[in-house]
């Protein structure tokens, strides 16, 4: 089946800025497709609008224009009733494991809520059975059902949040910075868990993150966002290993890697990847990255660069994309995987 599971077209999301001011455009001209079983990451820094897009998909932010379709069904303006019906297909995992579970509810109630609100009619025993089974799948013991979230560590809470999101076996889950608050070792556990569940159930993920390394690891495709606009999108390998847009390049060059020698080269690449160009968009016209772009020219801000598809299939919003030198080899992430893996050898 070629039809995409989630299809976003020309999405625009605005926030009011008070009387007499034009509304702030948090997201503009965003189009995105997510296939079945696919992981699409939306990556960007603060103010890029990545979380806003997730909120719009989930019905937590008001959509100004454009469409969001799930299985061809328009959901951009879904009301409470339609949301309840959607809940069995669309779920979410949020960032902060300490705020994502209601502290006054037991873990059992937390995980059972989607079943009770939006699930098929089930008896209490059946609900309990499903909750326990789901918790077991995320590695949480049955005894947790009657405990409260405060009794669990950050990583465990995130597992519980994932159990809640997946208990209805949704077709797609929006993961909004789902591992950002976790320590690196726990983050690895949760990323592996998400991967396992995807293999088992075939869930699609919209993975929202600021962390290029995580994104590169988990995604099939990546969308790079800056100030509400898509700068570049393509497969994870294309975007992370041969970045085309100057912004993607600076983003990748800025990630420090745990290797002193490699990092020395990356540091130099990083320093030349961002400059004060003195060229800025005005009245909302022009490339938003131009002021920091080492390749910026006047033509970058004469009009807003459109997202253009390159021969290799990815899309880039840069008018100079054909004239740019290839990316600094030191700055991409593919070249750095080298650390010994003997740690798992059981003696």
């Amino acid at each position: 089946m070629s039809a995409d599971l989630l299809e976003i077209n020309d999405l625009e999301i605005t926030y009011p800025r008070g009387f007499g001011k034009a509304p702030f455009r948090a997201v503009q001209e965003l189009s995105l497709r997510v296939g079945r079983g696919e992981t699409v990451s939306i990556v960007g820094e603060s103010g890029s609008g990545k979380t806003t897009i997730g909120s719009a998909i989930l019905g937590l932010a008001r959509v100004a224009s454009g469409s969001i379709k799930l299985n061809g069904e328009e959901i951009a303006h879904a009301g409470v009733r339609q949301r309840r019906e959607l809940a069995s297909r669309l779920q979410a995992v949020f960032q902060d494991p300490f705020s994502s579970l209601d502290p006054s509810q037991t873990v059992g109630d937390v995980v059972a809520e989607p079943l009770r609100v939006a699930g098929p009619k089930l008896s209490a025993a059946e609900i309990n059975e499903r909750v326990v089974a789901m918790l077991a799948r995320v590695g949480i013991a049955q005894s947790a059902v009657s405990k409260y979230p405060a009794e669990f560590s950050g990583g465990q809470r995130q597992r519980i949040a994932i159990a809640r999101a997946l208990v209805l076996e949704p077709e797609i889950v929006v993961c909004d910075e789902a591992v950002s608050a976790l320590d690196v070792s726990v983050q690895a556990q949760v990323l592996n868990l998400l991967d396992d569940l995807q293999r088992d159930v075939g869930t699609s993920y919209v993975f929202i993150s600021h962390n290029m390394a995580v994104v590169r690891h988990i995604s099939d495709r990546v969308v790079v966002l800056y100030r509400g606009r898509v700068m570049e999108q393509g497969t994870a390998a294309e975007v992370c290993d041969t970045p085309a847009h100057p912004y993607t390049r600076s983003l990748l060059a800025s990630v420090p890697v745990p290797d002193v020698a490699a990092q020395k080269g990356r540091r130099e690449a990083r320093m030349s990847s961002i400059v004060a160009s003195g060229i800025a968009p005005h009245d909302g016209v022009g490339c938003p990255f131009a002021p920091r772009c080492p390749f910026a020219q006047q033509k970058c801000v004469d009009a807003t660069p459109p997202l253009v598809e390159l021969p290799d299939g990815r899309s880039v919003a840069c008018v100079r994309v054909g004239e740019l030198p290839p990316p600094d080899e030191r700055s991409v992430l593919a070249t750095t995987a080298a650390v010994s893996t003997t740690v798992t050898e059981k003696s």
Partner: protein, 665 residues
């Protein structure tokens, strides 16, 4: 994987201090009650209120006399066996009048409180949760009502209703509702932002259902506390009204009215002002104390530290056996820190040489921020520090204030994690930075200003004069961190302690700040101690690295050596679980479980529970941090130490792996 491992600190790198850990909190009513019963003042106040309420309710049965029965032969009597609290001007029994008067007061209180409660919660919840226009309307209305001197309205009401206490109290309830509206609104707004509410919305739950299931249960605490406070306030106002005979019709008794009656015979019998006035005061005070106790209860419920298990740690491992470097700026030796008997940093040791950048790296709850605070002398008073922190030959652990003050800013300076809260919001950049310049350089006026601009230029701010004029809220995160760095540079420090200086920043800004720190270090020759959870940051800026786990140094080495040759299983796992090093599409290597709480630190190797290379010997006793022999490939490598009995074995496998890679290449 262990199914339920110990509850641990949140993942956010900021919460590195175990004292702030939240332990288990099953919010059961019984627990809350038990917690409340631990507060003697609250218990006494609650019991007193209960006695007053019961006695008043039973006035008909227990009051010794008719409250209106006059006995002019025994007027103005002092307390005696027949009249326990004496008699008033007309010989009426004071105790009986207090009991009957209490019915008026307490019934009125219940009426007013009920009205305030219902209005407060309903409007507060709607304003706080629904928000937008409705919130605006309710908030403005609340402001208006709060600005009305309530007495004006109350006087009218009593006048128009022929002194009807019930209506008066209902109106008082309406006038008191704003406090509860505000509290409920604030609490509901906070809960609305919680992501579990978002998750429920995604599930298709309606507003009302969410308010009942998720908002109300989580905001009862502040509502109940403030209702108790409001009870006290209402009782005071009601007493005042009764004092001027509003709401009661003499000769019927009321507490406030009895004070007024007593005042008339003040010169003949001053005793009479005591029973009624004191009773009102005690009841009001009891409501306040109950409120205080409730507040403490809900606060402690929220942040119950693992201190219950604060059993003193067994004597920990030997101090870190770090070889002394020839030229040392900062020497940390055997430094331990405990909070209320619970050790959170155990005999940590390392050296910082002049001009060197040292990274202290580890996950949350490993004690790295506490270690930094011990260096800075900024631990709070409840912390007990032992061991040595020697800066330029001077001992700083438990040093006199003066010694510390002489070093702050000029010897050791500091930049914190979140630049947005590291600057005083009430003062301009020029003022704050100027203050520090004044302290260190004794400059005034134009000279001070000049130095401020110099410092701002030094940290790479393009328009320093403009930045100087700004207030902290007018700065972006990156600019604020640069200003913080300028503040730290004001005293020309020899050592800069940076606690997660880039964690709160975007990755491109992080790059700029790391570049700035590196440049400043080269320009000024100062040393840097950088606390971080990110090994990439360490690789970028550090010369030496100290890896901490569960309060101990578990590995220390030159940065290059550490990444090439990690010799503690934890260090290796930390490196391997980073998605940067994983092949795309493969499983990440992860460490099962989490960092244990300080109360649960094992006697032997603290990482043993999670270690794939564990031997029986690992758990038998404390493991020492030992110096590793320099590998033949890097004979000039200095000072690589690890706290693992298999470290040398690991080192060998590293070399084999390196060889293999080389051969393959």
């Amino acid at each position: 994987m262990t199914a339920i491992d110990t509850p641990a600190v949140p993942g956010g790198p900021s919460t590195d201090l175990p004292a702030a850990e939240s332990g288990g909190r099953p919010p059961s009513r019984f627990r809350a009650l038990r917690e409340y019963l631990r507060r003697p003042l609250g218990v006494i106040a609650g019991a007193f209120l209960l006695v007053v309420i019961v006695a008043t309710a039973l006035a008909r049965v227990i009051s010794p006399y008719d409250p209106l029965k006059q006995d002019l032969f025994h007027s103005l009597a002092l307390p005696s066996a027949t009249h326990l609290l004496g008699t008033d001007k007309l010989g009426r029994d004071v105790l009986s009048r207090l009991l009957w008067g209490g019915q008026v007061s307490l019934l009125g209180l219940v009426e007013a409180l009920a009205v305030a409660f219902v209005i407060g919660i309903t409007l507060g919840l709607v304003a706080g949760y629904v928000g937008r226009v409705i919130d605006n309307v309710i908030s403005r209305l609340t402001e208006v009502v709060m600005a009305i001197p309530g007495i004006v309205i109350l006087l009218m009401v009593y006048s128009a209703t022929n002194n009807n206490q019930h209506i008066g109290m209902i109106v008082l309830g309406v006038l008191s509702a704003p406090t509860l509206i505000r509290v409920t609104r604030g609490a509901a707004q906070a809960v609305r932002e919680e992501t579990y509410v978002a998750a429920s919305r995604v599930t298709g739950m309606g507003r009302i259902l969410i308010m009942i299931r998720h908002v109300l249960p989580n905001i009862w605490g502040p509502i109940i506390v403030n209702t108790a406070v409001l009870a006290a306030v209402i009782l005071g106002i009601q007493g005042g009204l009764n004092y001027i005979n509003l709401g009661v019709n003499p000769p019927n008794p009321s507490w406030g009215g009895m004070v007024s009656e007593a005042q008339q015979t003040l010169s003949q019998q001053p005793w009479l002002i005591i029973p009624s006035g004191l009773l009102i005061t005690l009841v009001i005070m009891s409501f306040m104390l109950v409120a205080d106790a409730l507040r403490d209860t809900s606060a402690s419920n929220r942040s119950r530290a693992g201190s219950a298990k604060a059993a003193a740690q067994a004597v920990s491992a030997d101090g870190d056996d770090v070889p002394a470097a020839d030229e040392v700026l900062l020497r940390v030796r055997d430094t331990s820190v405990s909070f209320s008997g619970l050790e959170v940093v155990s005999r940590v040791g390392f050296d910082v040489r002049p001009g060197e950048a040292l990274g202290i790296v580890g996950e949350s709850g490993c004690g790295k921020t506490v270690t930094a605070s011990a260096i800075l002398g900024s631990l709070d008073a409840s912390a007990v520090t032992s061991g040595h922190v020697i800066f330029e030959g001077q001992e700083l652990v438990n040093a006199p204030r003066k010694v510390r003050a002489g070093i702050r800013g000029s010897g050791i300076a500091y930049i914190s994690q979140d630049p947005m809260v590291a600057l005083d919001p009430s003062f301009s950049v020029a003022s704050q930075l100027g203050e520090l310049v004044g302290r260190h350089d004794h400059l005034r006026g134009a000279h001070r200003r000049e130095r401020v601009i110099d410092l701002l230029t030094q940290v790479g701010l393009p328009d320093p004069a403009d930045v100087a004029r700004r207030f902290p809220h007018q700065l972006s995160g990156g600019m604020a961190q640069r200003v913080s760095i300028a503040c730290a540079l004001a005293g020309r420090p020899r050592l800069l302690v940076a606690d997660e200086p880039t964690t709160a920043l975007d990755v491109t800004i992080q790059g700029e700040i790391l570049g700035l720190l590196r440049r400043l270090q080269q320009d000024t020759g100062m040393s840097i101690v950088i606390i971080t959870h990110d090994l990439g940051v360490v690789a970028d800026i550090c010369d030496r690295v100290v890896v901490m786990y569960a309060g101990q140094v578990i590995e220390a080495a030159d940065a290059e050596e550490l990444f090439a040759d990690p010799s503690h299983p934890y260090t290796r796992a930390l490196l391997a679980s980073n998605p940067i090093v994983a092949e795309a599409g493969t499983k990440l290597l992860s460490i099962p479980g989490t960092v244990p709480n300080p109360a649960d630190w094992p006697h032997g190797c603290r990482f043993a529970d999670r270690c794939p290379l564990r031997l029986d010997a690992c758990t038998e006793g404390p493991i020492r941090l030992e110096l590793l022999p320099a590998p033949p490939t890097h004979p000039d490598t200095l000072d690589h130490a690890a706290r693992c009995i298999r470290a040398e074995e690991l080192e060998t496998t590293n070399q084999l792996a390196a060889k293999k890679t080389k051969e393959a290449a």
